[in-house]
């Protein structure tokens, strides 16, 4: 059984003439430990897919099954629990809590899961050990994103979701962040799913799901994903 299963998922917004179909009969699966890129232009429905994967949104029709659990049928409490234990989220604009230091933003996860990882170790892993007492406003975008990744990992989630994680970063910083995410797959065996419109990132992925107008145009299995540094950015 696949880790992620999208079964005939439809997501619509509004009703009547104003009805908009964001995701239109989408089916795909993702296996454990895969580095997946969902690729598409603006309005393709990729963020909606990611939101449904993350338990932040529910489909209008169809099923979203993660690790055998039907997320699309969960209530609010179950969804909170699901997000807490299964998902690590990395946002485009980091969404760190501005009143907490880097260390505390990561340590925050101790309030969510009992077996959260040690923040110092995670900061070391993302190369920010010396910045642990800095507040978000005292760090660069790349540093904030790395803290955000560390925070996502602190819960030791089954799946790490990234919504345009390099979208707000310069290319060199973006490469560092992507390397970090790729390493999560290759070395720590996390499943990483990234949503982006940057086709170059797809070269690093095990699987590329290309979307357009709410539908899947193609799913590409990349037999030889490139290490991030080898991609011509």
């Amino acid at each position: 059984m696949s880790l992620v299963e999208f079964q005939d998922v439809v997501k619509t917004y509004g009703t009547g003439e104003g009805k908009q179909i964001a995701v239109n009969h989408v089916d795909f699966t993702i296996e454990k430990g895969e580095f997946v890129v969902i690729l598409g232009q603006s309005g393709a429905g990729k963020s909606t897919v990611l939101n449904m994967l993350g338990g932040m949104d529910v489909p209008t029709q169809g099923k979203v099954i993660i690790d055998g659990m039907e997320v699309s049928a969960m209530n609010d409490k179950q969804l909170s629990n699901y997000r807490a234990k299964t998902i690590g989220f990395v946002f485009q604009f980091y969404n760190l809590l501005p009143s907490l230091t880097a260390y505390e933003n990561i340590a925050l996860t101790k309030n969510i899961v009992k077996d959260a990882l040690e923040p110092t170790e995670l900061l070391k892993a993302v190369g920010l050990e010396e910045h642990k007492d800095k507040f978000p406003s005292q760090m660069s975008g790349g540093e904030q994103q790395r803290v955000s990744i560390a925070r996502a990992l602190a819960k030791n989630p089954r799946i790490v979701l990234g919504d345009e994680p390099t979208g707000a970063l310069d290319s060199e910083t973006g490469i560092t962040v992507l390397e970090l995410l790729q390493d999560l797959c290759k070395k720590k065996h996390h499943t990483v799913i990234i949503v982006t419109h940057n086709a170059d990132i797809a070269k690093c992925a095990d699987k590329v799901i290309r979307m357009k107008n709410g539908k899947i145009r193609e799913i590409i299995h990349n037999e030889h994903p490139l290490p991030v540094r080898e991609v011509n950015w």
């Binding site: 949104d57 907490l100 507040f135």
Partner: protein, 825 residues
């Protein structure tokens, strides 16, 4: 197009805009509500005083002559003066109501204000002018006959006019415990209209005037005395018959000497009329009892004290409310503009001029706050202010008293609008300085830094919720300050409001358990003799009480500024009339000393053992007494002394009351020496009645405090929620449950509330005492706040805090993470 944008956004964000509208409205409304009534009162009073040419000074004495008047008029600082006589009689047909009769033969000053009928004419001996409120109560009109009696003499005249006098803006009959216009009136009539012959004959026949009195006060018997002395006889040889015969042979004009003018009223251009006392004293050869200004005229003083109290209320409470409202508006407007960051960036990027964008956003706050302020300017004075005025009008008489406007109302409204607009301006200016490219992106995180709480030794041991909230408070100081300050003020006012009841309960117990230790009281007629009163005392038991007005000073030969007009109570020391010290403990007056009320002692600067000087208000002789007790009485001030000591000064003990435990109900109907009887029930009812305005004020206070607390805590929670919505959405995405987030928000609101409660608590008693002290020198309520008042007020504050938390918990549950986080991007 921009106007359409504005209108649509107002519709979309109705809640936010409505709260700014509501606060602008309430701020202006609260400011104008009490002031409108006062401004109206001062306008009407000015008009009233001007139209009646109200005197500036009142000179009281045992008798003033035309010669005295001439000399006073000649003083350069005196612009005008006149003589008059005031006596207290009773009505014949209206339940023996108390009638203050003014007899004048010219009316230059303190003219009656005619509401119906013709102007007062002091030469008209066929008519009288009656107070309008009494006339209305008894359905009397111009042209009706009206009869009064004074000292056994009846006078019946036709009513020529219905009048009002500023000297009786407040009036309460001696027989009453509270205002009842059915029982008190005043009459203006010609001095010559009084049947002086009948009056003098009656006094002589009844033995109330002897030849000695006539010789002492007039020259009517000088010729008779000379004849007697020539025959080797003395004045004792003059019999009642001789006296009556002599009177019979005198003209009415000459007899008027038996009815001397007891008052001289005067006007001056000087600011302080009391500064003229030396000159006036010299002009009348020091032959006068007291010289006072209008602050000592009871009918004006009670009203002035009441208005002054309203003024204090208006300023203290409305200022607090306006301050908080402005604080809330500032934070709300600032956030509203900040939320428009990307739109401002977009308009800027499209090439719209900064000034145009600025005007557009200033328009939001200007239009909304101006609408709120304008609505407040209408509702505050015209509706709520007028309703309050109508309540006051039922107790006081000022013709044409209506709630009125003052420039300060428009200034207050302008300040509210200006603050709103300036807040938008500052927020907008800040955003316009940001480059359009940056403004189109989400705002960078607020700068975070270590907060002061991190220096706490146990900081690291604090949980996430605590640390997170402490950091948030140190980042959003204005919001936190608003929450604390608002709650502190709310707590203070709520505790004050609740404690008003406790204080009134205390006054009630104090009065009826310690001070008034009797079940019934008899009020005697003014002309009762000591012997007659003693006979009543013997028959019914109890304690005779004399009450009069006195002037008191800390030093001998004091001038007006150093003298205090107050009351004297002479008791028999039997305990029916209780005396309490400043701790409300029952005490007795040591023989040879007087008790002096604490407020009076404070203003005179005297303590136990010091000497005080006093004299009966309309008598000229001063006495020295030693202070034996500093007493405290909630409803009366002055000095209290024992009958024995009073009589030793040579003064006549003329009791006004007999306090007894015997049922004397209805005695006034069978005995002409008794004007009224009151049972304890009557007094309890009158007390509650007299507290009516106070209870209205208490109600206003409590409602006001409740609104304040709800507005502040709701806004504090709302701001906190909206400022942290992105953080809450992030926490939710990370897996936090709604309950956990709600806890974060509620805990912070509770902290701020608890701090506010602790800060507001100590001020409650200070403010309450200040409120009661502003009630005038005659009242000396001790502000009492029970633990229950504090607890109930605190429970209310915390309850609202929790309710606000529950309200926001729903919003947290419904928080659309996708929308919020997308919106942020």
């Amino acid at each position: 197009m921009l106007i359409r944008k504005m209108l649509r956004e107002m519709q979309t964000n109705f809640g936010q805009f409505f709260s700014v509208f509501l606060l602008s409205f309430l701020a202006v409304c609260m400011f104008t509500l009490l002031k409108a009534s006062n401004v109206g009162a001062y306008h009407a009073l000015n008009n009233f005083h001007q139209k009646t040419n109200l005197a500036d000074g009142w000179l009281y004495g045992e008798g003033f002559s035309d010669e005295d008047l001439k000399k006073v008029r000649e003083l350069s600082d005196v612009t005008d003066a006149q003589l008059r006589m005031q006596v207290t009689g009773t009505s014949v047909g209206q339940n023996n109501a108390q009638i203050e009769i003014f007899l004048e033969d010219e009316n230059l000053l303190t003219k009656p204000y005619v509401l119906e009928g013709v102007e007062f004419n002091p030469s008209d001996t066929e008519h009288l002018w009656l107070s309008e409120r009494f006339a209305k109560e008894w359905d009397l009109s111009v042209g009706d006959d009206f009869a009064v009696t004074y000292n056994g003499v009846s006078v019946e005249k036709k009513i020529a006019g219905l009048i009002a006098s500023p000297e009786f803006s407040y009036m309460c009959a001696d027989t009453d415990l509270d205002v009842d216009f059915k029982n008190i009136a005043y009459v203006y009539m010609s001095y010559k209209a009084f049947p002086v012959r009948e009056y003098v004959e009656h006094l002589i026949a009844a033995g109330k005037i002897t030849a000695n009195d006539v010789l002492e006060h007039t020259k009517l018997l000088d010729a008779v005395l000379e004849q007697l002395e020539a025959n080797g006889l003395t004045k004792d040889a003059i019999t009642q018959e001789m006296l009556l015969k002599r009177i019979d042979g005198l003209s009415d004009e000459k007899l008027l000497a038996m009815m001397p003018y007891t008052q001289m009223i005067l006007s001056t251009d000087k600011e302080d009329v009391l500064a003229l006392e030396n000159e006036i004293s010299e002009a009348v050869n020091g032959d006068y009892a007291v010289f006072v200004d209008k602050d000592s005229i009871a009918g004006m003083k009670v009203l002035a004290d009441e208005l002054s109290q309203h003024e204090q209320f208006a300023y203290i409470f409305t200022m607090v409310f306006v301050l908080i409202a402005l604080l809330v508006i500032m934070t709300a407007m600032s956030r509203m503009v900040a939320n428009q960051r990307t739109q401002i960036g977009t308009m800027n990027a499209l090439g719209m001029k900064n000034s145009k964008i600025m005007r557009h956003y200033l328009g939001y706050s200007f239009v909304i706050s101006a609408l709120g302020a304008a609505f407040g300017l209408i509702v505050g004075p015209l509706w709520w202010g007028q309703a309050l005025t109508e309540l006051f009008v039922s107790f006081y008489t000022i013709p044409e008293w209506k709630a009125a406007y003052d420039n300060s109302f428009f200034i207050a409204a302008a300040v509210v609008v200006l603050v709103c607009t300036c807040t938008s301006y500052l927020s907008c200016r800040r955003l316009l300085r940001v480059k359009p490219s940056e403004a189109l992106r989400p705002a960078p995180p607020k700068s975070g830094k270590n907060c002061i709480f991190e220096k706490l030794p146990f900081w690291k041991g604090l949980g996430f919720t605590v640390q997170y909230n402490l950091r948030d408070i140190s980042r959003a100081r204005l919001r936190a300050f608003m929450g604390i300050f608002g709650t502190a003020c709310g707590m203070m006012i709520m505790a004050c409001g609740l404690a008003c009841n406790t204080t009134l309960d205390n006054v009630y117990d104090w009065n009826f358990a310690k001070l008034q230790n009797y079940d019934y009281n008899i009020q005697f007629a003014k002309d009762i003799t000591t012997q007659q009163a003693d006979a009543f005392s013997k028959q019914y038991g109890g304690e005779l009480i004399m009450a009069d007005s006195v002037e008191v000073a800390a030093k001998d030969h004091a001038l007006s500024g150093d003298k205090k007009t107050t009351g004297v109570v002479v008791t028999e020391g039997k305990g029916f009339y209780g005396i309490t010290n400043v701790r409300q403990e029952e005490v007795s007056i040591p023989e040879g000393t007087v008790a002096i009320s604490s407020k009076l002692a404070l203003s005179l600067g005297v303590e136990v053992g010091d000497g005080v000087y006093w004299h009966i208000y309309d008598k000229n002789e001063w006495y020295r007494a030693t202070v034996g007790v500093i007493s405290r009485n909630p409803t009366s001030s002055g000095i209290t002394m024992l009958r024995k000591d009073f009589e030793e000064t040579g003064n006549k003990f003329l009791p006004a009351f007999l306090f007894t435990n015997e049922d004397v109900t209805g005695l006034e109907r069978t005995n002409s020496l008794i004007t009224a009887t009151h049972s304890k029930t009557d007094r309890l009812e009158a007390f509650m009645q007299s507290m009516q305005i106070m209870y209205v004020m208490v109600g206003v206070l409590i409602v006001f405090a409740a609104i304040l607390i709800v507005v502040v805590l709701y806004n504090s929670g709302n701001l906190s929620f909206n400022e942290r919505i992105k953080e809450f959405a992030t926490l939710k995405v990370l897996g936090f449950e709604s309950k956990q987030i709600q806890k974060i928000l509620t805990i912070q609101n509770l902290w701020l509330s608890v701090i506010g409660i602790f800060l507001g608590t100590p001020f409650a008693k200070i403010i309450l005492q200040y409120m009661f002290d502003s009630n005038g020198d005659s009242y000396d309520y001790e502000a009492v706040i029970s633990a229950g008042d504090y607890i109930y007020a605190a429970i209310f504050v915390l309850g609202i805090s929790v309710l606000a938390g529950v309200f926001f918990s729903k919003r947290i549950r419904r928080l659309d993470m996708v929308e919020v986080l997308k919106g942020m991007e």
